[in-house]
């Protein structure tokens, strides 16, 4: 009975500060998840140290130091997120949603373009990328909306309203243009709808609609003379299906990336010997193609460790969905985990030619403060949900 559930949820939330003091919350976090994330962060820093060693002449540690600062900020953020009860987000989802939209509008309206793209807000020495933080705010807000609708989730109008709410920030991010983040939002929206209990039929309808939109944007509208995507975006999205079409041009990045991954072999070529990275054959090797660089330097062994750590995070994350104390927590956890999985797959797949080329960061590894802070915040939210969930006493 959803009405009951809702009332109980609110009572749970209101009693939270009393029922869970700080100590008990920290004691009840998922230590395995924390271990996985801590290892990932450390592994990421180590990987970055090797990958960016020759990027800034004379300053081999330039990126690592900056990344470490971001990690520190992110860890602080994560601790805060653990302490804050998810029910706060649930209650104030409108504020979160409005804030997200507001910042994105601000970015589009006032921020100067960097490499043709308006994504960053300058904050002194650091830059702040709202679309990264938007990933988690988005999940919190849409989940809040769906849980508020309660039993009406079964109605198609609710589904449409949720999709509409999701499409607005997606559209804004897309206009920056940041196609990759827009896709991540889409994946998160799908996961949230899926876990909120939207009927299979409605899911199928939404999925069908999404397919029609994708096909339309990629093929029919350009043919009809209405290009939605920029040509390079279309090329990248479709290029991976035909990798040999233009080895020098459009798929140059992917070809070099695949070469880098393959050249790494079983145990890697080391930092000194990884020529694809060192001699700049591999473009964007500290950001979008960081996985290929890692693969070249550390080989199959190094990439396997990373993927296993990701798998561990995903497993623990899905487990949080099942132990969540309420539906909101479950949905949020699911959205976060799926967005995470999506980013890992698209980024890693892209470097190996099995996913389209989009500017999606590799969680915990890609150089970029906003990304790592967001990921740590997301883990904090997961931990918060876990800590307030149904805990095994036996542990």
């Amino acid at each position: 009975m959803i009405v009951d559930a809702r009332s109980r949820t609110s009572s749970f939330a209101s009693s939270a500060p009393g029922a869970y003091d700080l100590g008990s919350i920290l004691r009840r976090i998922d230590w395995l998840l924390l271990f996985a994330v801590a290892t990932l962060v450390a592994y990421g820093l180590w990987a970055i140290a090797g990958i960016t060693r020759f990027d800034v002449p004379g300053h081999p540690d330039y990126y690592v130091v900056r990344q470490a600062v971001a990690v520190a900020v992110g860890v602080a953020g994560m601790l805060v997120a653990i302490v804050v009860s998810p029910s706060v987000y649930q209650r104030h989802w409108r504020v979160l949603y409005g804030g997200t939209i507001g910042v994105m509008l601000f970015v589009i309206a006032f921020v100067g373009a960097v490499r043709g793209s308006k994504r960053w807000i300058d904050l002194g020495p650091f830059q702040f990328q709202p679309s990264e933080f938007g990933k988690i705010l988005f999940v919190l807000a849409i989940a809040g909306f769906l849980v508020e609708r309660g039993r009406r989730v079964g109605e198609f109008s609710t589904v449409l309203a949720a999709v509409g709410l999701g499409l607005l920030p997606m559209g804004l991010v897309f206009l920056q243009p940041d196609l990759g983040s827009a896709l991540v939002y889409g994946a998160a929206l799908a996961a949230v709808l899926f876990l909120a209990g939207v009927r299979w039929l409605h899911l199928a309808a939404i999925g069908g609609g999404a397919i029609i939109v994708v096909v339309g944007v990629l093929w029919f509208l350009p043919v009809a003379g209405i290009p939605i995507l920029k040509p390079y975006q279309t090329d990248r999205l479709t290029g991976f299906t035909n990798p040999e079409s233009d080895p020098g041009g459009l798929t140059y990045n992917v070809t070099q990336s695949r070469t880098a991954v393959g050249a790494g072999g079983l145990s890697g070529r080391g930092v000194e010997g990884a020529s694809q990275t060192r001699l700049d054959y591999l473009p964007e090797h500290a950001t979008d193609f960081v996985f290929a660089s890692l693969a070249e330097q550390r080989g199959f062994v190094g990439t396997s460790i990373l993927l296993l750590l990701y798998l561990l995070v995903v497993w623990r994350g899905l487990r949080v969905v099942t132990v969540a104390g309420d539906l909101y927590g479950a949905i949020v956890a699911g959205g976060i985990v799926f967005a995470f999985l999506f980013q890992v797959f698209v980024n890693v797949g892209m470097t190996m030619g099995i996913a389209p080329v989009t500017g999606i960061p590799l969680p915990f590894v890609t150089v970029g403060g906003s990304s790592i802070v967001t990921n740590l915040l997301a883990i904090g939210v997961l931990q918060s949900i876990h800590a307030r969930g149904r805990v095994e006493r036996s542990r």
């Binding site: 949820t9 393959g262 020529s275 694809q276 700049d280 990439t303 969905v321 190996m352 006493r393």
Partner: protein
């Protein structure tokens, strides 16, 4: 309840979490949610499985192959250019050498794609001052073969090099390379002989594929003259080196030499650069003299000097000429045009033409020794019996009148005198005797001419000779073959008579003529002219050069001419330069070294703008040798539209003898006689 999400809450899933009675959470994990979480779990497993399989396939299964690709990515084999061998003159003076230069090369494979490529081409063209469109076309053409660089420009100025080096990142694919440029210390001397060097063309690549030496795109190759004929020796063998480059083609680290370049070997010419210079000057001087003698259409000329004993070419001058350096480095299209463009070549009177070997002129009177020798061999002429030399003579059924150049003469002459005064009517009589001798006799003169080397290339080692079809020795059969109408097909008395004085259809190259006079001088042996005597390895400074290969002269072959007949002709040629009525006595009589030779004033139809069709111009000829009794040098000179032989060609030839024998003539007296 069915409209609530996941329906009624039931038991907590036992799968992920054992039941915990202490938590009395009203919220329960419903089977519906559990199912969906399970679906997500399966998706996650599929995703990771896909990533792992792909990684395994790339890194472990095909790792070696990608490692190769990554290594080839950064290693580039470049060719280390071999310095081209020098061309030396007879005395070892460097006629063609090398100077170091800078070349800008462009690797199309490293250039930006699409619009960026053409922007870069425009910028590069502007910096190097080369036509952008031509460069763009080259880039497009080379797109199919990205492994051969385009040479954008050689002999690049330092400022341009510095600019390109500073802005290297804006010009991916641009490589600055040290190269060798051909250098001509004597400027235009011997231009048509030496030839020039250029980048190998696709056609030449195809032609040389099966050859002894293998050429690759971007190689330099001799395009003409000595450079082309002896390219095999001159080019050397390029070495190879590897460089590591980054993704923008910028060199990383140092060059690793794999194979040293082998410098080309030097080629030694028989040419004497001093004599060559004298010959080229002499033509220019003769042109000035001819102009002073009101020969306003005088245009060009040729002088060839050969050693009559073995055929070694001492000078081979052709005017107008050009500087071979126009082909080197910064090519100025205006300067190159006369050599490559028909209209411009015509306007500049074909400076690229080697008039000594490529142009056939009517010989005129210098042909008379041919007639004389043939007639004596055929027993149609007795050298010391007299024939009346008259002002004119009438031959044929149509009573055609043939005039002597000297309208005031009427006295009997023997052969030496007829040669000395160049009496036309004497030789008309001889020519008519050939005609009267019947059908077989009518081509006997021509057969002897062929024996003396006319009508066919001389076999000069650098080739580039006029084909047999252009050096005509007309016979009745040739007329029949060549002409359409019955009138023209006929061989008339006039044909034999005109042939006797080297007029009408007969045409010879100066080199053929020089070879014939060498035969007279050396006692009846035909030599094969040659320009290159050997190939040598140049030693370090102060060390002797090491001769690697000799090209000995072809042994002269005896044509079987009667020594007595030769003696009569030699007497005539001596008298021509020494006796008081000799045609070039005014030029040569006072020269300390005894010179024998014959003038020629050949009428040739020359179509000049502003003149009627069929306008005749006198080609001024002189051929001869010295010293008269032991000849060491044969000189043949021809001045186009230069007037009388004694007026233009003979003084020019004298200059060559002066230089060769190191003797000065006492101010020659120039006379206007034939």
């Amino acid at each position: 309840m069915s409209d609530a999400p996941y329906g009624e809450p039931r038991n907590t899933s036992q799968r992920f979490l054992p039941h915990d009675p202490s938590v009395t959470a009203p919220y329960r994990l419903t089977p519906g949610l559990a199912l969906r979480v399970g679906v997500l779990g399966v998706v996650a497993l599929v995703v990771f499985a896909a990533l792992f399989f792909r990684l395994w396939s790339l890194q472990v299964l095909s790792g070696a192959q990608y490692l190769d690709a990554a290594q080839n990515n950064q290693l580039r084999t470049i060719r280390v250019e071999a310095p081209r061998g020098s061309v030396l003159d007879r005395a070892g003076r460097v006629v063609v050498g090398n100077v170091p230069g800078t070349a800008v090369k462009l690797w199309v494979g490293d250039m930006p794609r699409k619009e960026g490529r053409y922007r870069m081409v425009r910028q590069l063209a502007a910096i190097l001052d080369v036509p952008a469109q031509r460069l763009a076309r080259e880039v497009d053409a080379r797109g199919l073969d990205p492994l051969t660089p385009i040479t954008v420009k050689t002999a690049v100025h330092d400022d341009q090099v510095f600019y390109l080096q500073e802005h290297a990142s804006d010009f991916p694919g641009v490589q600055i390379q040290q190269t060798y440029l051909r250098h001509y210390p004597y400027q235009s001397l011997g231009a048509q002989i030496l030839g020039y060097v250029g980048e190998v063309s696709p056609d030449e690549l195809k032609r040389n594929r099966s050859g002894r030496k293998d050429y690759r795109g971007g190689d330099k190759i001799g395009k003409s003259g000595v450079e082309a004929t002896f390219d095999e020796y001159l080019r050397g063998a390029s070495g190879a080196a590897q460089i590591r480059v980054d993704s923008r083609g910028r060199q990383q680290g140092s060059v690793a030499l794999i194979r040293d370049a082998e410098p080309g070997t030097a080629v030694r010419l028989t040419l004497d650069i001093g004599v060559q210079r004298a010959a080229e000057r002499a033509i220019r001087e003769a042109i000035v003299i001819a102009k002073a003698n009101k020969q306003y259409n005088v245009a060009g000329g040729a002088i060839v000097a050969i050693d009559p004993r073995d055929g070694a070419v001492r000078a081979m001058a052709s005017y107008p000429t050009y500087k071979p350096s126009v082909y080197v480095g910064r090519i100025d299209p205006d300067k190159l045009a006369p050599l490559v463009n028909d209209a411009a070549a015509r306007a500049a009177n074909f400076p690229g033409l080697n008039r000594v070997t490529q142009v056939a002129y009517p010989p005129g009177s210098i042909w008379k020794p041919v007639t004389a020798l043939a007639a004596m061999q055929e027993h149609l002429l007795s050298p010391y019996s007299s024939i009346q030399c008259t002002a004119k003579a009438v031959y044929g059924r149509d009573k055609q009148v043939f005039k002597n150049w000297d309208p005031y003469v009427n006295r009997p002459m023997n052969l030496p005198e007829a040669l000395a005064t160049s009496c036309d009517t004497y030789f008309y009589t001889v020519g008519n005797r050939f005609y009267e001798g019947g059908l077989a006799e009518r081509s006997r003169l021509q057969q002897w001419a062929r024996t003396f080397g006319f009508g066919a290339p001389t076999g000069l080692d650098i080739g580039n000779e006029a084909p047999s079809s252009q050096t005509v020795v007309p016979t009745p059969a040739w007329r029949k073959r060549t002409f359409e109408s019955d009138w023209d097909k006929a061989w008339n008395p006039g044909d034999s008579i005109q042939l006797a004085i080297g007029q009408k259809d007969v045409s010879v190259t100066p080199l053929q003529m020089a070879r014939f006079y060498a035969m007279i001088a050396n006692g009846g042996k035909l030599v094969r002219p040659y320009l290159v005597s050997g190939v040598e390895q140049q030693g370090a400074t102060g060390q002797r050069a090491l001769t690697l290969k000799q090209f000995p002269p072809a042994p002269p072959h005896d044509v079987g001419v009667d020594p007595a007949a030769l003696q009569a002709v030699r007497e005539g040629l001596w008298a021509a330069t020494h006796s008081s009525n000799g045609t070039s006595a005014g030029v040569f009589a006072t020269f300390p070294v005894s010179i024998s030779g014959k003038t020629g004033t050949a009428e040739k139809v020359v179509n000049l703008p502003g003149y009627p069709v069929g306008h005749l111009e006198d080609q001024s000829w002189w051929c001869g040798y010295g010293p008269s009794d032991d000849a060491k040098l044969v000189v043949c000179a021809v001045i186009e539209n230069g007037g009388h032989g004694s007026a233009a060609a003979a003084p020019a030839a004298l200059r060559v003898f002066e230089k060769y024998f190191g003797q000065k003539a006492r101010s020659p007296r120039v006379v206007n006689v034939d």
